[in-house]
Amino acid sequence: MTTVLEVRDVAKSFGGVHAVRGVTFDVQQGEILGLIGPNGSGKTTLFNCILGQLTPSRGDVRVGGRSVTGLRPSELNRLGIGRTFQLLQVFPELTVRENLILAGQEHKGSRLSRLFGPRDAELTGDAERMIAFFRLEHLADEKAGGLSYGQQKLLDCAMAFMAGPRLVLLDEPAGGVNLTMLANLKERLQAINKETGATFVVIEHNMEFVMSLCTRILVLAEGEIIAEGSPDTVRRNPKVIEPISDIEAAMTQSQAGSAPILTLDNVVAGYGMMTILNGITAAIRRAKITTVIGPNGAGKSTMFKTVFGLLGVRAGTIAFDGRTVTNWSPRQMLDAGVSFVPQGRNIFSELSVRHNLELGGVALSDQSGLTGRIETMMQRFPILAEKSNAQAGTLSGGQQKLLEVARGLLLEPKLMLIDEPSIGLSPIMVQEVFSILKGLRDSGVSILLIEQNAMQALQMSDYGLVLEQGQTRIEDTAAHILADPRIAQLFLGGGLAPA
């Protein structure tokens, strides 16, 4: 076996924060190595050090025996090292096919030959093969920005493989991908590994995915490797804290009497020529958690944006708290008591945590209570108090999400729309976020949630709403939805095995 990647005592500090503290490991040819660990353990920083996005403070990275420390990402890529990103990174204005051709073009010929030589001759063929391999045929000529999250995630992966790399570093390939597509992704990755002998290093929070995909696992905590071995040995290692499923069985609900806080009546909305919501009708209960589930592209995020006024309502009506709010502006919705935590990262990364919270209070008509509200938030989320003067961009992914939720809560909303809060969070962090949401619900806030982690989310929810093709398919208590065999089969990827 040959060693593809050697990481020797790599460390990285930001100011006084030691994100990675001297990590050493090898990756063998053909291996699928999993890199797991809690939020803030330094996984992505380590990736960025290996890939030249960051320069390590100390240590050396070798690829095929050659030191590559200090090379730029593009140079590393041309040496045959591909990567995907934790958050989506495709070129929205280019089509799926153009995205793929672009991903391969710098690997063929010289820069001059790319200008004067035959255009994209082999690349077109490679792109077609990659499109077929990732089953994106029906989307090949769509602009990448128009695809759903999961589809873009597949494209992101396909782009990393376009140039036939020998080593690919995947940062949370499963984040935000629903279980049906996840199975597809895993199977495709394994097929590539088998066919081309390509080596993978995978950062992942989805334990089931990572344990079944990888041949070896490294566990990172606070910037150091604390365990290493086959999935089975790592699982049995006492140092590795397994996510404990402390979630009680689905709750029983019988509050059908309370009036809905939000109702949608035959709502139609979309982007440009595309109609995404094809007449959604739903009633969201007051002081309850309702989870919206459905396949990628079903219109979940679009529904949130439409309710919050970021997207125009083309037909139908939306009512909130007894008032018709169809086509109200986001500002009006905020004033009415709705706050929205969108998918992805939405913090001001160059500002401090405290400034981020202060900005959350800009919409308050009475600014005098702001400091008090911020203090309350800091008590509720101690990590934010601890880091209140740190630049928000230096927080880990999970901490950033907490900051966003806290910022949304500053306005003391009646209804919170939260889109995929658990993307990129470790299982323990997910539990923490979920328990915070439950606490909010108990204090009277209504919560409407989108979660790719559908089963877990439904278990702590009161109600569920199943969307498909921009329409409501099922609207019921979460317990009933969890028990519905159709749901298990379709959205949860076959069977409700306990976590």
Binding site: S74, F85, I101, R114, L115, N266, T275, N296, Q469
Partner: protein, 354 residues
Amino acid sequence: MTWSRLQVPVLVVTVLLLILLPVDMTGIEIPWPGLRSYGSLNLTRWLVIAVAAMGVNLIVGYAGQETLAQAAFFGIGAYLTAIATKAGIPFGLAFLGSAGLTFVIGIVLGFPALRVQKHYLAFVTLAFTIFVWLVFRNEEWLTGGVSGIQGITRPSLLGLSLRPPLYFYWFTLAITAVLMCLMWWLIRSPWGRAFTALRENAIRAESLGIDVRGYKLLAFAIGSAYGGMAGALYAPLVGFIDPSPFALAPSLLFMLMVVVGGSGTLMGPVIGAGIAVLLPEWLEVASSKITSPVLQHLFSYLLVYALIVMVMMAFCPTGIVGLVQRIFTPKRRPHADDKGPTIGTATIPARGKP
């Protein structure tokens, strides 16, 4: 009828019209007297400005960088051509020299600026424009200072003098067409794709092996060379150059032309330049018929232009080309589709497909 299907016939008709526009056709029973010298010269000026704006569009619209130096490059091309042709060097060589020199200056100027963050290119090009303008104004031994360079003659082509405005217009039209085709070819090439990639997401582009710094530099240098070539055509067109058209304000106007026309589109800078050049001419004619001095004031070119820019930015940030595309794109009425598949089909839904 979609825009893409209309494109070719519209282009052919436009080119024909542009060739025939200044020609007197009353002799063949068409009631069009053609344009006089002044009109031909104005059309030529539009083409020259359009070439420089095309360069800005490559830098700003396609590669997502910034430049406030296009008037400086325009001036370098103009002065180089003026000095060279007065020294007896053929126009063709001066033209290529202008392209080459501005390309090289573009590389030298961009190299340090592109190593650091994005906005530094704006600062560096701003300083460069002021520097170049001062050289034009103060180095009298070379540039003639504020009195400029006079008596720049138009070249001849295969023994035919291009002195008549109509001939020089056709000559410039041909060069503009060639440069436009080159631009079209470039932005559809892998280079063009790389430019778009670094505009949209430079970090991802870098991770796909795209040498972001190298491509930024190329886009900047090629765009600047378009400025140089436009300048080379400008000098024989006007016959007299002084420093004033190469200051900072015209550099900003080049940016505005691209934005008004439609940044990141092939036709955008041509349309934007048309408005910038021909609008003041038309306004002058219009205002000469107005007697009230207050109203006459309202017809001030910059005032109207500024209003157009502000209205465009508010209602159509994609520029005039974007507006036209919006008009010709078929609209689909939103409707509640009742025939959505039942829960038995768990396929990956294709967004945007009917």
